[in-house]
Amino acid sequence: MESLSMEMPRVGVSQVLLHPDRRVGADMARWRSSGGGAALARAIQNPAAVLAEVKQADLRGLGGSGFPAWRKWEFVAAEAPKPDKYLIVNGNEDEPGTFKDRVLLEETPHQVIEGAVVTALAIGVNRVVFYTNPDLTRSLAAMKAAIEQWQASDLLAQASTALGRPMELQLLPGSGHYIGGEETASMEWVEGRFPFPRGKPPYPAQAGVHGCPTLINNVETIANVPHIVAQGAAWFRALGIGVGTGTKLYSLSGDVLHPGVFELPMGTPLRELIYTHGGGLLSGKPLKAVFTGGPSSTLLTPVDLDVAMDFDSLRARGANLGTGAMIVISEGTGIVKRVAEYERFFAHSSCGQCNSCKVGTATMSRLLDRIDTGCGTATDLTTLKNLCTMLPGSGRCHLINGAVQLLDSAFHHFPDEFKQALH
């Protein structure tokens, strides 16, 4: 995707995951000297306690779903190996406006690996796959070096002993397709095929990679695990604001003075992110809207400035935190153009398995392009609205839902802008 900047995003505020002590790159000695490996040591002593602690911490899936991570862990922990169990650490990160996992992978690879090994111990996984966006060459290089260090060190051997069988770490560059980030699609890729999402059931926890029980967690989710284990659930919960627990890596971009990745307490209000940490809007313009999630979600508008950016609070507003991406646009930026751009992304990303999704997103994208370029008619707008009614829920995965939700929300908040653009 062209939206992927190879430049390292600016890291604004940092507390836990992006604390300067953690950002040592693939330097195992430095990482261990600042406390790295402590969580693994605890987990080796008492693997069973890890899941309980994570559950207590209410760790959520930070790749976008917000689904309690510990619940997925429980499902996989309850399954017997067939003959293996897999953990896929999902760093596919390919959607517009999201650029947080690459920082974790590049600057804190040992933190991610420790999290994965601890998780694997806790639920009995013997095969860990670090599934990484293939275009992020520096992240891949850091992970490759770090994994080699683990394989050469005593840490992995100790974990294997605790597990009772060899634990294998694999670095797997992804397909370069956005859809490859969908969890069942990632399993297809791990098995060596095009990342088409699979139908569910069976769920990955029962029959995932090669039919084995499989856990798929986002890089950021996994990176939190060592800290929960080392410092306890109570500490973790206290990091959040309101109902939020822990911290969140917000990817802030768009018309703000200081775009970048900001690790803030889960539940930080949007206003604080944009104005305190992001330096406010360019040229002091008023805020127009925020595309959240990456960007398959409803829009936030100025009335939402004080909403707490955690999964539950945003869901209560009909929005979605998603990956924590916040693409800010100011007055003067065209909604139609932006929505057209994102719908083009979805159309490009649709895998083709479901006619509804592929034809639906392609049609929406084309109609939006027409409207944006002054060639649209009232019929085009009506067709778009009809598609928004017809398409939700018709796909094998959620891509079509996100595409529709974004457009629907834009219609809802900015009806006049679409009408004005008509031919």
Binding site: V359, T363, T383
Partner: protein, 220 residues
């Protein structure tokens, strides 16, 4: 779904079917095609209708039954209770450019094909095109045949193609299968169809013309 003569009834005797076309609630008689239902219900802006017998490929629709959304041709699809129909906008202009008169002979056709349709060899086998085809053409296989240089067989696979271009819309790799099929058919005729009876008659006519010209020159 209609029906055969035996179950046909005089209109009005059976209860109407309720469906949605372009967002409007429409009541139609059982056995009506979606085009008829759109007319019957006075649905505006339905201009992408043509032959009404399934060969012009214009009346492309997306259909929702329950949670399932499919594509099809409205003149060949019949009303059902609660079906949701959206007429699709006309297809966009193709992205592939060639003029058959530019092809000098057939020996470089394979290279030309892949230059014109570079995507054709990138099929990811999602079967979207096969699902989208209202004529039941084995589109994906046809594309594979063309990509392998087997144009005659590929063209044969696309024999019933009505150029609705639904497969083009359904292809995530932007292969434009309908145009691949047509290309295959065209080059097969252009390079290989050399019928003796036609060639003979053309030569006769050419000689007749030359004689006429000579006669006229002599007269001068």
């Amino acid at each position: 779904m209609t029906t055969s003569n035996t179950t046909a009834t005089e209109s009005g005797q059976t209860p109407d079917v309720a469906l949605t076309i372009n967002g409007l609630a429409v009541n139609a008689h059982p056995g009506m095609s979606l085009v008829e239902a759109a007319w019957h219900g006075g649905v505006p802006q339905v201009t992408s209708v043509g032959c009404l017998e399934g060969v012009c490929g214009s009346c492309r629709v997306m259909l929702r039954r329950g949670k399932e959304v499919t594509v099809g041709l409205a003149c060949q699809t019949f009303v059902e209770d609660n079906i949701e129909v959206v007429f699709m906008p006309p297809a966009s202009a193709p992205q592939h450019h060639y003029e058959i008169s530019d092809f000098k002979d057939g020996w470089d056709i394979h290279a030309r094909f892949h230059k014109i349709f570079p995507e054709a060899s990138r099929c990811r086998h999602c079967h979207g095109c096969d699902k989208a085809c209202p004529k039941g053409i084995t589109v994906e296989n046809g594309v594979a045949l063309a990509a392998a240089g087997r144009y005659r067989e590929a063209g044969e696979a696309f024999f019933e193609c009505v150029m609705c271009e639904l497969c083009d819309a359904a292809c995530p790799e932007l292969i434009a299968p309908a145009h691949v099929g047509l290309f295959s058919r065209r080059v097969t005729a252009h390079f290989h169809l050399r019928p003796p009876n036609l060639i003979h008659r053309l030569e006769e006519l050419r000689q007749e013309r030359m004689e006429t010209c000579r006669d006229e020159d002599n007269k001068k």
